[in-house]
Symmetry: C2
Subunit: 483 residues, 2 copies
């Protein structure tokens, strides 16, 4: 596979992606429509993401809770935008224990309604506010087109739900959580993101405002990597979440919700992966270092002994290390561990042992380097850190190169897309003016498949005219094809 071809061709890219996650042993398909099994390496990536997110949530005063997965149909009907947005995707439990249920129960697609119902019981006074909870759980959205990790019928996620005395505090919360998402996705997953406000047509069903962080994949398409919603008093009114204020008045609480999901795993693969397989940031790689014996090892048992010492030293110091002493050839192992995205390979044979050296190759670099064994731990720590930084920089360069600031008419955009196809390049994203009319957004989508990603908080440049109608621009917006 040549990267350029793959990037430019949708089918090839999808094929590469699926092959990469299957050969990398992250997942498997199952007989249930759109539901995947997370294999241990795939799930471990999620565990690392969870731990990092959870730490930030708790540091900012949030606690975890767990709410029922089944939601009565009548709950959805209480907030009309919400049911409109989600009802086309809901799976329903209609029978249980041999009996038909009186009311259908939806498998949660998100929990605003159930949590709204409970918050109305739990919140009575301003003393109960802010209420800052988060849930780690499975959710269901029965969508037509699925893609492992990116869009599946069942997926894993976290959903934060908070209630506040006033709009200002609730809005601060939505920004705080979006900032945490940006921080974790950039620093932990090495994926640069643009943060901004969603246009009304792309808002969460029932939100007053939706904010997002958006990431660019290697095929130039966008993934909405995390969202944070200011819900105003809409759910509070629908579920009667009232509190007695400091002024002794009954007031509706202002609520927020925010979420990230296992689609982050898919994003990591699509941002960092290459033609040899998985490339994983060291922070989340199930194997940070793999030790591979090379050369005539059987005649030199001391090589394996030394490798076991090295293994023990790294493990003792918290490095996720594997010693591959299976009976396969070194060449087979090099490929296997590249495919699986081990961050560093250490190759070690009789000559290295004699010289007191080891050979190290970072997953993202072509060249090998030789180091002294006495410096094993510090070298490994430095190299892991260096790789983490390189991955971010590489992804950022790619994104910046493919963020186009000079496309100001629909005609130019069509030309740009056409030229991309002809030159095996990805079309990437464009920063363009928008008048604010939904008809213009729709026209862009119909004619180019580009949709609005977000209105960036810090636009690189401000646009004066709408890319669609040419009228005065109300906003400067990222447009891109999206997953």
């Amino acid at each position: 596979m040549k990267e350029a071809n793959v990037m430019a061709n949708e089918n090839e890219f999808t094929k590469w992606y699926i092959q990469t996650i299957q050969q990398g042993e992250l997942m498997d398909y199952t007989p249930v429509r759109g539901c995947i099994a997370f294999k241990p390496d795939g799930y471990e990536i999620w565990e690392h993401i969870q731990q990092e997110m959870d730490r930030h949530f708790k540091e900012t005063g949030h606690r975890n809770a767990y709410f029922p997965m089944l939601i009565p149909e009548s709950f959805f009907e209480k907030e009309k935008d919400h049911i409109e947005g989600f009802s086309p995707e809901l799976p329903w439990v209609t029978e249980a224990a041999g009996e038909v249920l009186e009311e259908r129960l939806a498998l949660r697609p998100t929990s605003e309604t159930m949590i709204g119902h409970l918050y109305s019981n739990w919140i009575n006074s301003y003393r109960d506010l802010p209420l800052l909870l988060n849930q780690w759980s499975n959710v269901f959205r029965w969508e037509k087109k699925t893609l492992p990790f990116i869009r599946t019928s069942e997926f894993l996620w976290q959903e934060g739900h908070t209630a506040h005395e006033c709009e200002e505090e609730a809005r601060q919360e939505t920004f705080q959580m979006l900032e945490i998402y940006k921080n974790v996705i950039e620093n932990f997953l090495a994926i640069p993101v643009y943060d901004g406000t969603k246009t009304p047509s792309e808002r969460f069903a029932g939100a007053v405002d939706t904010f997002s962080v958006e990431a660019m994949m290697k095929d130039g398409k966008a993934v909405q990597a995390g969202t944070s919603h200011y819900l105003g008093t809409k759910f509070a009114e629908a579920f009667d979440i009232k509190y007695l204020s400091r002024e002794n008045k009954h007031s509706y609480a202002h609520t927020t919700s925010w979420g990230t999901s296992t689609r982050l795993i898919g994003s990591v693969i699509m941002v960092h992966g290459d033609d040899k397989g998985l490339v994983l940031p060291p922070t989340i790689a199930p194997v940070q270092v793999v030790l591979i014996p090379v050369g005539p090892v059987k005649k030199n048992p001391q090589v394996l002994e030394k490798l076991e010492e090295m293994f023990a030293e790294l493990k003792r110091n918290g490095v996720r290390v594997r010693l591959d002493d299976s009976d396969q050839s070194p060449g087979f192992k090099f490929n296997k561990w590249e495919q699986k995205g081990a961050a560093l390979q250490i190759q070690f044979g009789p000559r290295d042992h004699q010289n007191g050296n080891f050979v190290l190759k970072s997953r993202d670099e072509e060249d090998k380097q030789t180091f002294e064994i006495t410096e094993l731990l510090s070298v490994v720590e430095e190299q892991l850190e260096a790789m983490q930084k390189r991955l971010f920089q590489k992804a950022k360069s790619f994104r910046d190169q493919n963020s186009h600031l000079d496309i100001d008419t629909l005609e130019q955009l069509k030309q740009h897309i056409k030229k991309s196809q002809e030159t095996d390049a990805v079309p990437g994203w464009i920063l363009a003016g928008w008048c604010g009319a939904e008809t213009c957004e729709q026209k862009i989508k119909d004619e180019t498949k580009f949709t609005s990603r977000n209105i960036p908080f810090n636009a690189i440049t401000k646009k004066s005219h709408c890319i669609s109608c040419g009228e005065k621009a109300a906003h400067t917006v990222w447009f891109a094809r999206a997953y």
Copy 2:
């Protein structure tokens, strides 16, 4: 509430239990039948249990994975004992995204079938064995009678699923995992358990052998706190889990499964709780130390300053500490934190500040003690450890006192139960002989509501005759009323 009365009366005990977990803010009811919401303190207890269990699983070579929650009806039909056991309790998804499904999908009650299907793809050679996976997830069992944490329509659990080359290795695995359960439940949850083999009528649906750890609640009833199953080749045959053996033969894998659930939370409350509310082992208490200012604090701002210093010192050292500086009275706070099961209360006022002392009360003791502030951290650490040990010893004494070894006929058992009722005592458990006939087990149940708990690995004494028919005993068995 007087403990003796509560223990002897089923309705009173249930009332006490529900009041205790509600006032302790562990859970709330929801409008979905038998489904509860885990409030933050309830969920945090689960998080501590999860972390401890997970550490042991990983240390013994297991990895986590995640499998689809929805299981096709046809999967259940492949193992006939399994479907017979679980079908009466299954909720079904029959519609999704506006369409009726071709095949009903069950909400998983346990995942042997889905995992069996996938293992048949993942296992090809002896090199793929043993396969040692675990899943943390929600599961569903639509049961008639529910009780928060102990028996709910949806609950949270872990289910381990392993595959091995031979029976011996698979059986070793089941014992290893049961031993881990025993270790965590005794040392971490301070609940003594009896480990043993389930009688055939109490086996997991589809297992060759089921082993359990059983705990005694304060009302003398039993909770099956963890189970481990040797499944033989039954699921391997049903799902075609075959591997090419070292001898180059196609062989069925031997599989195991093992699980513990959020019913452990209920068990902790029913074992340690008292008439003032929750009593939680320090290992899992969301609040290990609460600092409460007493006396005329407003006139002595340095008291609060000192408390903030103490708070910071404990927090820095990893103690889960709260400073309750709300405007409620000290008396209100003492009660509140007792109800919520804070392990240690530290009371501190102007006089203490002058003397350089603080007053400490352990949740499980009547008397307060005075210590020097300079020793705060070491005192707290010692007291938490001492409380953990006391709770286990107290629970063990209670269990041992209520484990009856001298009841050898059904008539004696009936007399014993009657006398217990008359004297406001709990009937507890009995260790009795059993001939091995299911009819005898059934007769005991019909006439006394006592069911077989397990055949202990290390029976305190061996019984010679069946308590029911008087014939020669094949086994010595714990019998008790059970949740």
